[in-house]
Symmetry: C2
Subunit: 608 residues, 2 copies
């Protein structure tokens, strides 16, 4: 019976810092060797990181990365090392006319490249994702393109590597991330690898967290293995990576599967961790000889909370940020943002500023103060009325008429760009944007006002999720960290008499419905005609997961419903001019504003 | 001898407005029929526009576009119509798991779809660009993927359509945009079409203007036709389209080529225009029977100016913007921005605001006033000193220490977010961002200050180009529109005593060198090691097109040179946090900041 001991290294990959990552890889190889592993496996793009934007065009970097590949090979004395990095073909160009690059899995043993009779020491990703934040087709050449160019069948190119494990020959099939998510592709790389003799399939990934992704993955592995029963090793990195507009959470959750698709062992999310296990193979079937650690069924809100905390902590760490300066209004959004920051960074790194104008009620001002006390953060009250009055006077003295609406935005900008930006600069800190997804979608924000910030922690959360998170925060802190009154105050911008919270007057948004409407637009990519059809068929409450009776409560008839629907669609499309200039948002939904959802400024077109 | 009369419709395509575009197409078909054309040709994606972001995922829109295809077919009575639109296969998915979509050329005649024995009434784009602003692979399935999936040779799929022209059979090969830019691809779609019998090749494009693109295109067509001599028809749209962060200029410049690659007739840039011509074919060779109109050799600055004016005009028109509110400082950047706006929109749509603090010299203040008078625009002087003093006092009263550097940025934000944003809101206008590319690259800008704006007209221009444009503006206006002193004042932010223009003290940027350095980084994708190598080999002045002796003048030795190089690289990389929130930039270079150059916020990695 063949047997092989493998180590899966769930490492934190720091994007754009190959020197840091390389050093860690070398350290981990040493540890794996000391622990008598036969094979040690690192994630996809473990050397450079995955989300580098167009830095892939930097030939100096690419040369450096190729040098690092040789350096890692040199470290493979008495062990087989599998890792992800770019592999460049300097003699050929990609379809962009630049040096041709592949998203590659590399494999070396005893300081030599292993050979699979097609490639020496490397193989390439076949399925290149290019939806959402993924841009693999932009940067890399695929195995399928190479097959087309060489006019060979792709089956001739996807071969396992034979590894010598103390005299035993074990065939390892290497695949990269999307290669296992093959549902929408005509190529099935894993299947080809197994048909070509792979006894173990390794998938190295750089796969960001999304809702229920891990459960989906387990199902997919099960389906694949049902036809091709071999051990399956999934190695994913942890860390955060970004594309400017969005910050993605890499949760790791590396897993080794039994040949029947059940879980043998799994790593924890967001933790650097090694999985080490001995696999025993008989014929084409192997089973675990040690260690069981099933993925726990986690509560959605806990997963969300854990991800956001991790993302905030890493963002501040990687960008070397010293202090978060946050406006605290007494509303739920700023309360949740501030609490997350304190929990991620510690209270000494958070500075809260309350900036009342004459429209802010004692109710919210007191709530803000209480929150700051509960959090134990430094807190200042800096009223904006003098600034607003000065601006009004200067504009009016120059003949400009200031309407109530313009005056509302002057307040928001006075807070964001005069006070908060000034304080942040003075203390060497950064501002926090407290917008939620629903108001960002409908443009219920002021550019250069509450849209300001270096990061937007809850920008991918609907209002209901903000409340859920608030409840969860109070639950785990085992006290009323976020004061009860903040849950009860009607959501309001408090920018005019019309938004008097003490009279229960708030935002012109019906959150229980519009939250879900925005979700239908943005995440489920539904358009007006589909939603109107749901209304007509009376299935809308089921389809959109609305409370029963809610639609009837707010809309007397079809005309009213349709009017609101079109109005919200218009707000969504027209307010994109603000999102163009929005700060980075931590992506946690199926589609976040930023470079996850790509928009054009084309006004509105109603296709009903 | 076969002969055929064709009309090439260089229309303005409005992105995201299929109803508007469809109406125009139908009108143009009627005109072409009345003029006795046999074939009428429209650009790529003439119905929906090309840069729609992820709106391609809107199934309601896709259904509507497919309906419009049938509507256009219905209009093809007694004429053959060729146009670009999406073609959706609702029975299959793309690699993103959504409805499969192709970037298609459609062809109908006498109300019927023409058949090429492979497809009925349509063919698909083979080469999908995915560099710079292009995202075809994200949205569309390629002909090559279809061939792979069907396991047929692509030559079996790329067939010309036979058109009946008064009893003559003429075979027209349809291609789309990138299909002719085949240099970096192993597939050569035009060649395949000709080998498969095409007597005329039509290329429908949605191709934005870039430097010298049209000359490159003429050369490429010549190369292709040298091996495959047939008439070649290039139909491109005019208009502007955007991806949020960048506005692209579609210049049209549609051209019909003789089979030897010489130009037969060409349309003007940025104008809606029809090219109508009768082609006569003998064997596989045709020549023009009428009309010659060669593309003129245009001056680079004129081309740049024409593009920017067109882009500004269309941006204001398409977004229904009433007024441009612009800060005028007395410097060259705001002078050029303001002049462009007046020339694009007319003086009554431009409002100039000068916002001096105590650091602004009479020299610049007078120059600003003179510029405004020359332009004939409404002009106000609103000093910011009261606002700045108030902010300083409020911060200091709350215990925050305001350094000189912080005070500089307070001034910039007071201008941008308090005064200018307030005025823009009051008059129902939008702010203009006056940043140039070099300062944007090096982060010599203030977020929520001079970075504010709805559009950035000169954000893709280096400082030297700003001066060139200023001279050109004065030349064509036949007077000193931009006052001579503005050319002479040293570039300066005037935010402190250290930046006193009257003492010749200005920005910490050596524009004659750093302009070119930024260009090397951003456009030519050079990294530090390559530039240092030029320095060492003493080829840097030639490679970077620098004035002779310039490097020696500014850098005493290698150490000084290298120190500055690394410092600028760091500024370029670290200041990306500002560009994330920058307004839309009109793209005119080989690489513009925005979604043309995609960046990640990963700090600095120096690969020397």
């Amino acid at each position: 019976m063949k047997n092989i001991k493998i180590a899966v290294v769930q490492m934190e990959v720091v994007a754009g810092k190959p020197d840091v990552n390389c050093e860690k890889i070398i350290q981990k190889i040493k540890e794996a060797r000391e622990n008598k592993n036969d094979v040690v496996i690192f994630p996809e793009m473990a050397v450079p990181g995955y989300l580098l934007g167009d830095e892939w065009e930097n030939n100096g970097l690419i040369k450096k990365l190729m040098e690092i590949n040789e350096k890692i090979r040199e470290e493979s004395e008495a062990i087989t090392v599998v890792w992800g990095n770019v592999w460049a073909d300097f003699d050929n160009v990609g379809e962009d006319g630049r040096v041709r690059k592949y998203n590659a899995a590399l494999i070396a043993s005893n300081k030599k490249w292993l050979d699979n009779e097609v490639f020496e020491g490397h193989t390439f990703k076949t399925l290149l994702p290019k939806y959402r934040e993924f841009d693999d087709e932009r940067h890399f050449y695929s195995m399928q393109k190479l097959a087309d160019e060489k006019q060979v069948d792709i089956k001739e190119l996807l071969k396992p590597f034979e590894v010598d494990v103390k005299g035993q020959k074990v065939k390892i099939g290497l695949s990269l991330c999307e290669d296992m998510w093959d549902k929408n592709y005509f190529n099935k790389p894993i299947e080809i690898l197994v048909k070509n003799g792979a006894e173990i399939v390794v998938n190295i990934s750089a796969s960001p967290w999304t809702w229920q992704k891990n459960n989906k993955r387990h199902q997919i592995v099960k389906n694949i293995l049902s036809k091709n029963p071999v051990n399956f090793v999934y190695c994913n990195n942890v860390g955060i990576q970004n594309n400017g507009k969005n910050i993605f959470l890499f949760d790791g959750s590396s897993t080794i599967y039994n040949p029947d698709g059940t879980l043998m062992i799994a790593a924890k999310p967001y933790k650097e961790e090694n999985l080490e296990i001995r696999l025993e193979m008989e014929a084409s079937f192997a089973k675990a000889s040690e260690g069981y650690n099933f993925v726990s069924e986690e509560n959605d809100t806990k997963e969300l909370y854990d991800g956001l905390i991790y993302g905030l902590r890493k963002f501040f760490e990687q960008n070397n940020l010293k202090k978060a300066v946050i406006g605290i209004s007494g509303g739920i959004d700023s309360a949740v943002s501030a609490s997350l920051l304190v929990m991620a960074l510690g209270k000494q790194k958070v500075l809260g500023i309350n900036m009342p104008s004459k429209f802010n009620a004692d109710l919210t001002r007191n709530a803000a103060k209480k929150l700051a006390e509960n959090l134990g953060i430094e807190y200042k009250v800096i009223p904006i009325q003098n600034g607003v009055d000065l601006t009004m006077k200067e504009l009016e003295n120059n003949g400009f008429k200031v309407s109530d609406f313009v005056m509302e935005n002057i307040q928001a900008r006075d807070r964001g760009s005069r006070i908060l930006a000034g304080v942040a600069a003075a203390v060497g800190g950064v501002m926090i944007n407290n917008s939620n997804k629903t108001e960002m979608a409908l443009g219920y924000t002021t550019l250069y006002g509450d849209m300001n910030g270096a990061i937007c922690p809850i920008g991918d959360l609907y209002k209901w999720e903000v409340y859920e998170l608030a409840k969860y925060i109070n639950k785990i802190s085992q006290k009323e960290l976020i004061p009860e009154e903040i849950f009860e105050i009607v959501p309001s911008a408090e920018l005019s008499d019309k938004q008097d919270v003490t009279m229960g007057k708030g935002d012109p948004i019906i959150y229980p419905y519009h939250d879900k409407l925005v979700r239908a637009f943005v995440e489920f990519r539904k358009d007006l005609s589909e939603i109107l059809e749901w209304y007509d068929k009376k299935t809308i409450e089921t389809e959109m997961h609305l409370e029963k009776g809610l639609i009837e409560k707010y809309f007397k008839n079809r005309e009213e419903f349709k009017k609101d629907l079109e109005e919200k669609w218009k707000l969504y499309k027209l307010s994109y001019f603000k999102r163009i200039q929005a700060p980075p948002i931590i992506a946690v939904s199926r589609r976040a504003f930023g470079y996850d959802l790509r928009e054009s400024q084309n006004g509105v077109y109603v296709a009903i």
